[in-house]
């Protein structure tokens, strides 16, 4: 045996021991689904030929304009690797009754290698039809959602496959319009905001100990990182870096800002968009429309500088600022003119944007890693 063969053997031996039963079952299930889809198509074609029906046929894996790729499987119990994205499937249009049918809406996650799974255990809508949020940690490793069965939040570690159910019961009715959720990188802390922009207080939950810290309802969560929850009160605008044990005090910026990023690697700068107040019934164009990013100092509240973003597609709009890629570049979530979603890294010194990831299809209700979602 050659040394090359030995070295290749050593590398091959690093392959994790696997039980392919799940993949085998998935392959068999997928083939059966494709067959059923084929039968459905054939049946639909027959119906059209006979002039008997005009109802739409929804094929598995083709909901909401997603690409008709592999069948979407349920998120398995074991490890799947970090996530790149989570999203909620859209409601179907019932053409006969002329209304939206949201009974089949579900949460799905996309791994960083591009595999999509559905997450049936995550509540999508409450009994009162309020959307229930899902959150992904900054590194994509932790997934947090609300479980109706447990009446509590659940945190899944997608790298080890372990699952933790929060010991803090949260009644489903508390999830109200615009409810938000964020999860820390270690999966230990959750921030649940029952209703965005209201006075209903939020809750910072330590899922390991069950300890909770109330958060004033006027604040919204941006992210949780390194034991600090980043909270924003939009009207003024105030930013509060609150330790997960409570404490700290907010800083006020000069002017109103929206879409805050996480704290930059320098530990004091955040990126956001200036959002001018309405004057005499007229709202000036916000910096979001102008694609002009503001850098703010969280120690002093001063606006450090503004930078015009260059290199984004003309059609479409920015919908989020999230993680810092490095000391200079911050990530933007961007939805194109046809609904496609992508992330870009923007150099905060030059404004130059470069494409990071383009996601297939045109998913709605997108949750990017590290950003509070709702």
């Amino acid at each position: 045996m050659t040394r090359l063969r030995d070295a290749l053997d050593d590398i091959a031996a690093e392959a994790p021991a696997v039980d392919l039963t799940r993949l085998v079952d998935a392959a068999i299930t997928g083939r059966r689904r494709r067959r059923r889809a084929g039968w459905a198509l054939a049946a639909a074609a027959t119906a059209v030929v006979m002039g008997a029906a005009s109802a739409a046929v929804v094929l598995p894996g083709q909901r909401g304009g997603e690409p008709a790729a592999r069948p979407v499987l349920d998120l398995p119990d074991n490890r799947v690797g970090p996530l790149a994205l989570a999203y909620m499937t859209p409601c179907d249009l019932d053409v006969v009754r002329k209304r939206f049918d949201c009974s089949m809406v579900e949460w799905r996650v996309v791994t960083s290698t591009g595999t999509t799974y559905r997450v049936p255990q995550a509540l999508v809508r409450t009994a009162k039809e309020r959307p229930a949020p899902m959150a992904v940690s900054r590194d994509g490793r932790m997934l947090a959602y609300y479980s109706r069965e447990a009446q509590a939040h659940v945190v899944r570690d997608l790298v080890t496959g372990s699952e933790t159910t929060s010991p803090v019961t949260v009644e489903e009715e508390r999830i109200d319009i615009g409810s938000m959720l964020a999860v820390s990188d270690d999966g230990r802390h959750l921030l649940f905001d029952p209703r965005e922009g209201s006075k209903k207080p939020g809750l910072l939950i330590d899922v390991r100990t069950g300890r909770t810290v109330p958060v004033p309802g006027t604040y919204e969560v941006v992210t949780i990182r390194d034991g600090v929850a980043e909270l924003v009160r939009y009207r003024k605008t105030d930013l509060w870096l609150m330790p997960v044990t409570g404490g700290g005090k907010p800083v006020r910026f000069d002017g109103a800002f929206i879409m805050f990023s996480e704290l930059a690697p320098d530990g004091r700068t955040v990126a956001a968009f200036h959002f001018p107040d309405t004057k005499k019934g007229k709202r000036p164009r916000s910096d979001l429309v102008k694609r002009r990013l503001s850098l703010l100092d969280t120690k002093t509240g001063r606006a450090l500088r503004k930078v015009d973003i260059r290199g984004l597609p003309k059609d479409g709009s920015i919908f989020e600022t999230t993680l810092w890629v490095n000391e200079k570049e911050v990530t933007l979530g961007f939805r194109g003119g046809k609904g496609e979603v992508a992330t870009y890294a923007v150099d905060t010194t030059t404004g130059r944007a470069r494409l990071l990831t383009r996601y297939p299809g045109s998913p709605r209700s997108v949750v990017l890693p590290g950003a509070a979602a709702g």
């Binding site: 040394r3 994790p16 993949l23 392959a27 068999i28």
Partner: protein
């Protein structure tokens, strides 16, 4: 035993070997599992033919290699990670071979990497490798030659390993 049982038995009997090949090709555990998943979806679709007079093992291996090459042709977007790169540490010679080789393999073209895996790990002949890659024997020889030359240039410290008489004989 129905067709699904046969497919299940075939995969489970070879799961570790399939996983190792996928891992050697991709160099990443998650990608290897994804590669296997997409290949098994193809294999199950052809199972009724393969279980008759076909060669499921050869078909699966060919599908693995071709799917891997096809994946690598697509642009791969940058994926955000909060993981800090690993810092250096001391290793013994064998471990060093493995680490350096893994890094150098990652810089080969997909076809060159596939040839290295098929010829020197799967121990396929040139003809068998050509069959898997659906190319000529001459092309296998040339890919193999260029792959080894590239490995030598990327990692000169692998020189002695790649100058082994058996390897020289294989590429002659």
């Amino acid at each position: 035993m129905d067709g699904d049982d046969g497919f299940r038995e075939f995969v489970l009997a070879r799961q570790q070997s399939l996983m190792r090949t996928a891992y050697l090709l991709t160099g990443d555990a998650y990608l290897a599992e994804d590669l296997l998943q997409s290949v098994l979806a193809k294999v199950v679709g052809q199972w009724h033919k393969l279980s008759g007079d076909g060669n499921p093992e050869a078909y699966t291996r060919r599908a693995l290699v071709n799917q891997y090459i096809s994946w690598k042709r697509r642009p791969r977007p940058e994926v955000l990670s909060s993981n800090v790169p690993e810092h250096g540490a001391s290793y013994d010679e064998v471990a060093l071979d493995r680490i350096v080789l893994r890094g150098a393999l990652a810089k080969l073209t997909p076809k060159q990497r596939a040839v290295i895996v098929l010829r020197f790990w799967e121990d396929l002949t040139e003809a068998q490798t050509a069959e898997v890659l659906r190319c000529s024997i001459g092309n296998v020889k040339s890919q193999c030659h260029h792959a080894l030359a590239r490995l030598r240039s990327l990692a000169p410290e692998l020189g002695p390993m790649l100058s082994d008489p058996e390897i020289v004989e294989v590429t002659r």
